[in-house]
Amino acid sequence: MLEMLSAGFSEMLTIYTMSLIFIGVAMGLVFGSIPGLTATMAVAICLPITFTMSPSDGMALLMGLYIGGVSGGLIPAILLKLPGTPSSISSTFDGYPMAQKGQAGKAFGLAIVFSFLGGLLSIATLILIAPPLAQFAVRFGPIEYFAITVFALTLISSLSDGSIVKGILAALIGISLAMVGSAPIDAFPRFTFGMNALDAGFNLLPALIGLFAISEFLKTSESKVNPLVKKISYKIKGFGFSVAEFFKQGWNFFRSAFIGIAIGILPGIGGGTANIIAYATAKNQSKHPEEFGKGTPEGVVASESSNNAAVGGALVPLMALGIPGDTVTAMLLGGLVIHGIQPGPLFFTSNTDIVYGIFAALIIANIAMLVFLFLGMRFFVKLLSIPKHILLPIILVLCVVGAFGVNNRLFDVWALLFFGVLGYLLIKLKFPLTPVILGFILGPIAETNLRRGLMQTQGDFLPFFTEPIAVFFFGVAIVSVGLKIWKNHRKKQTEINISGGV
């Protein structure tokens, strides 16, 4: 494995590829630090640029964006109490009070160093568990794959925020949208409404960019944008904290990073949930829980080590099984598919160079993130004052260019707008968006494997419920839905009790 990793590094350590990683990290940090722009959007806009690159170069850029996008959120979280991305929500809880107390430098130092360490630990985990998992998954047949995709879809629907009914409906909508075009196996055209442009179905890219970037743009256009004018001042010296303070966070760091990795691996939830759970756990386990929320370094460390740790976690199912766990990994899947690579167990045997190139790129990007944030803090802080009414229309133009670039035709731009409006409506009606896109990606995989499996068993459904691995995944899927229903029910009960008591 070590020699493959060093081969991966040698592939990444060319000036061109390294500069792609650096550009990726820098752009990711920019997108992460501006509230309203996310890592997902950064990857979406850059996907079309990777068309003409080699697969490893393309992935190098995207990995840089991913790491940078997740990390950039800490800047406005600490300075302005605005989480730049959902991944840094709980960094505001203690980071902002710390900045108010004049400890912004210390908060930044801790946040950056523990982001780096969390990311590093999770990348190490990824390198250790993804290859054996892929090796195990090579034996999976269509029946197992069908079970895993169904499991992933139910888990995503039940774990995403809000009502489970809406989560499942969102996933079903995604699956239906993916049905437009030729059916798998026999290529029978479905739901094309006689439009030739739809024969190949909706392309993933306009769907992704539309649902996540255009919908956000439409949401912002609901009201006039107030130019953000806030005086931002802070001081940072060295790392901002002492060696003793660093080691005091040891256990807190390992616990939070572990939570981040574990949550990252589960499909459907990523850094956005991980940081909140890690923060809550740190508070519960702390000897001084009353200090949380008032500017304790522990809170910042918990939040920032967990959200970066979720990155490596989320890449485990994507690379080993071909199943994306959140929106950014769905984008990365799109990026691989564009280059004709299907992630999954075979990815590790047929494209070993790219796999280890991705690992190497992640490590390099993580180091670049650390350096850029320490050296470039002043620059990133300046970015916070770019007005949104200038930025968002430019991003829309870039989205249009990206969609047009898919096939050099305006049809995909119209598809982009369709998905944008759909995404906006779903946000307004409080449907979660992640299940839609994962349904869109996983639906066809599930259908293909179901039909292949049935061909294998000559139309017999029984093996779907007797194969042990399949049964296991169906079982976990049912348990996850059951748990969520029970949890919602209990929440309602306590609400009734509280209101009844008053």
Binding site: P35, P83, T92, S223, V397, V401
Partner: protein, 167 residues
């Protein structure tokens, strides 16, 4: 309104959608003799959407009955949105959408550079408050962005964006 009746509207719409989807699977016939043809999964999904829409409808009706105007929830969600102050309105979303549609419609005629420049200027103005308008700056940004995006993608990534009347 959307807060109160949203679930009911969306569930009814999705029930209709599921029905249409189910009906349109009737003329899907597989050429191969298999137990699961191209129509099977769409049918399962349509039935699934229908069942869950019914549940959502029931939940929505229950919600309307016990509805009390929402107390502004405090929390992180609002924190992220507090820089978009001002009145929210559907009209401005529709106008923005209309602007984008016009932009895409005229792009093949005027070409990428001209249409993007015009779109950007109008959109900047629309998103900003009247008193903050700075048209010369907007025009400059719009031209620089459109021209640089066009040549960047054309020369570096060989993406042939529409040339329109400039071509």
């Amino acid at each position: 309104m959307a807060e109160k009746y949203g679930d009911i509207y969306s569930s009814i719409f999705m029930m209709l959608f599921a029905l249409l989807m189910y009906i349109s699977t009737f003329n899907m016939q597989s050429m191969a003799e298999v137990s699961v043809g191209p129509e099977t999964v769409p049918q399962i999904v349509a039935i699934g959407i229908f069942i869950f829409s019914v549940i959502l409808l029931l939940q929505g009706i229950k919600k309307v009955k016990s509805y009390s105007p929402p107390v502004e929830p405090e929390g992180t969600k609002d924190e992220t949105e507090n820089d978009y102050s001002g009145k929210k309105s559907l009209v401005s979303v529709l106008i923005t959408l209309l602007l984008v549609i016009c932009y895409v419609l005229v792009m093949p005629i005027l070409g990428f550079i001209i249409s993007s420049t015009l779109y950007l200027i109008v959109q900047f103005c629309f998103l900003a408050k009247r008193e903050n308008w700075n048209i010369p700056l907007y025009a400059l940004i719009a031209v620089v962005v459109s021209v640089s995006v066009y040549f960047f993608f054309r020369n570096l990534f060989y993406l042939m964006l529409p040339q329109g009347i400039l071509g």
